[in-house]
């Protein structure tokens, strides 16, 4: 930061996904001091894990790159990774926030040369790839990571692997004694942009997610299709690495369901249309069946729906499948009623994608540790008349797509600069 440090005019943004990045950059570009906290080791959140965006089928890294360039140019914006909010005290214009930084075991001296990763054989589950692959115990979060800095997995700490990792670093960047830190920030407004978690597919009991590796979730599909993902971007059956011929997408896997998420998660229909495009792009013979209740391609996104629907090898079946069973050779079999033909079906697929919904992270234990209004699902309700200094943005405020999250975050940036008042 160029100035004397945080004052009550500082804007704190919690969450470094697309909404948080946007809110931080937009606010900082009006001249205010901004601090952006991200719980993970790199910015980008869920969108960094996406392969492409609907409807343009363009790559999220493209927009992230511009945002990272903007961050690099903004001297009044400070990014802190591995950081979460432990406590908030005070009121609009005068908050004191306790920030907890988890150990990364890699300090700012890291040059991202990669010697540490080469030094260890130890592997841990790749959270970035939603468990579809392993990563070395010392790893770069992904090829487009910002900041471009490695992480040592906590599992390695205290093992001989940690010593190998440390020994490999020529820059004194590995800090095995990193215990994290806690510090306080004074700020005038807090943009809460903690985003979402994919709904847990194990809760959808009749879909037997745990019984077959060929039943995956929509977020896993994004990794499977990504060139930086577990298969280098080839969409194959996770069970045997074979090409897929018949793929099913199940919409509302958790959403619009009183037993799970009562609301509509908004993005899943378009996400599955996009996944159909991924599959069809790779396989000329592949057939894709999309099982849906209502196909919700709102506003201009209708064109994307029409585009995919025009493909004769993409089929739409108005049905919420009742169950998935596993047949003798391990393939998933969908069972249910086609509501338009009244036929009961038992159909075998190579790959089934559950279009699981979005659960607000604020409902899953990452809510502001201060009183704010939340609805029954955990989404934060914006305060009326701008009397609150805690401003939700993106999916923390409701199930939104990327474009709407950016819109929400830009609006939140304005609310934040209003909350801290004209610049001193």
């Amino acid at each position: 930061m160029a100035n004397q440090g945080p004052t009550s005019q500082t804007i704190l943004v919690v969450g470094g996904g697309i909404a948080g990045i946007t809110a931080a950059v937009e606010a900082a570009e009006t001249g205010y001091d901004v601090i952006l906290l991200e719980r993970g080791p790199a910015l980008g959140g869920r969108v960094a894990q996406l392969n492409r965006y609907f409807p343009k089928l363009c790559h999220p890294t493209c927009g992230l790159e511009i945002n990272f360039q903007r961050i690099r140019k903004l001297k009044n914006l400070r990014v802190v990774t591995m950081a979460s909010v432990a406590d908030v005290k005070g009121d609009k214009g005068n908050y004191t926030v306790s920030v907890c930084v988890a150990p990364r075991y890699v300090n700012a001296k890291c040059t991202a040369c990669g010697a540490c990763a080469e030094a260890t054989e130890m592997e841990v589950d790749s959270a970035f790839n939603y468990g579809l692959s392993k990563t070395r115990a010392a790893y770069l979060p992904h090829e487009h990571a910002f900041p471009m800095r490695y992480v040592v997995a906590p599992e390695a700490i205290g093992t001989p692997e940690a010593d190998k990792i440390k020994a490999a670093c020529n820059y004194d960047a590995i800090d095995l004694d990193d215990a994290g830190e806690t510090f306080e920030i004074a700020c005038g407004a807090i943009v809460w942009a903690t985003g979402w978690e994919p709904y847990d597919p194990l809760k959808l009991e009749s879909y037997n997610y745990n019984l077959s590796p060929d039943i995956i979730t929509n977020v896993q599909m994004e990794r499977l299709a990504n060139h930086d993902g577990p298969t280098g971007g080839r969409i194959v059956r996770p069970s045997n690495g074979e090409p897929v011929r018949k793929v099913a997408m199940i919409q509302c896997a958790g959403s619009r369901d009183r037993n799970h998420l009562p609301y509509c998660s908004r993005i899943c229909c378009l996400g599955s249309l996009k996944h159909a495009a991924y599959v069809r792009e790779q396989y000329a013979e592949a057939e894709v069946d999309i099982y849906y209740i209502d196909l919700r391609a709102h506003d201009k996104l209708e064109a994307f729906y029409q585009r995919v629907a025009a493909d004769p090898q993409v089929h739409f079946i108005k049905s919420k499948p009742a169950s998935i069973e596993i047949d003798d050779d391990g393939s998933p079999v969908l069972h249910g009623e086609d509501t338009l033909t009244r036929e009961m079906y038992d159909r075998t697929y190579d790959l089934v994608v559950l279009a699981t919904g979005m659960k607000p992270a604020a409902a899953d234990g990452y809510a502001p540790p201060i009183s704010v209004e939340r609805d029954e699902y955990g989404f934060i309700v914006p305060s009326l008349d701008g009397d609150g200094g805690i401003i939700p943005a993106g999916v923390a405020a409701g199930p939104l797509d990327v474009s709407m999250s950016v819109q929400s975050a830009t609006a939140a940036a304005l609310k934040a600069i209003q909350a801290v008042g004209p610049r001193n």
């Binding site: 509302c252 619009r256 009183r258 009742a322 069972h335 009623e337 509501t339």
Partner: protein, 205 residues
């Protein structure tokens, strides 16, 4: 006693029958929440045996298709496994609605046409009268309920199975099995009917 539903309307989607279901059928007030996803029909272990399945039945209720609904085999084939109720994303008590539609169909005299209903009636008669089900009497009564010709046709068709059952002790000839305290059973049933009547009256007020 059940309020009679309105006469079958001459136009589709007359809501008077749907409103009768809403007001008179157990769970009927939740039926309007159905969003026609098909989870119930798909989850039904004997969905393939039903002429419509619960999802379509609900759409037909909305469409005012009273006679088709009350004559439907769907309401008689339900085995009360509750899969549909557990899984319904809208919390519609599908099983309750279907069961109660069945009992309403009995009260309203639709049962003559429906084989499952006649069987249920015979089953219920045996249970009420003897406190137990007697396979021989239930089937005989069920076969008779379809008329003389149906009795002979069904009896002959199933004769071999019946002999087999007798041989293996699954069915016996002679006096029917009875429970000891049949009077007590009658008293229990009478009390249950009284409570039922009182509650449904209370429910309406």
């Amino acid at each position: 006693m059940t309020v009679a539903p309105p006469a079958q309307a001459d136009r589709r989607y007359d809501l008077n029958f749907a409103r009768w279901v809403r007001d008179n059928v157990n769970g009927g007030d939740k039926m309007s929440l159905c969003m026609q996803c098909g989870m119930c029909s798909g989850s039904c272990p004997i969905g393939t045996e039903m002429d419509h399945g619960p999802r379509k039945l609900f759409m037909m209720i909305r469409a005012g298709m009273k006679d088709e609904v009350l004559n439907s085999s769907t309401i008689w084939n339900c085995t009360s496994c509750y899969n549909c109720v557990v899984r319904c994303p809208r919390g519609v008590p599908v099983t309750y609605i279907i069961q109660d539609l069945a009992s309403k169909a009995v009260e309203l005299g639709y049962v003559k046409k429906v084989e499952n209903a006649r069987f249920a009636k015979a089953f219920w008669w045996s249970a009420m009268t003897f406190g137990r089900t007697d396979e021989r009497l239930v089937t005989t009564k069920f076969y008779w309920s379809g008329g003389l010709a149906d009795f002979f046709r069904k009896s002959l068709a199933n004769l071999k199975i019946a002999m087999g059952m007798v041989k293996t002790g699954r069915m016996h000839l002679g006096a029917p099995h009875k429970i000891k305290d049949r009077k007590g059973l009658q008293a229990i049933l009478a009390k249950a009917a009284e409570i039922d009547a009182r509650e449904s009256k209370g429910g309406e007020s």
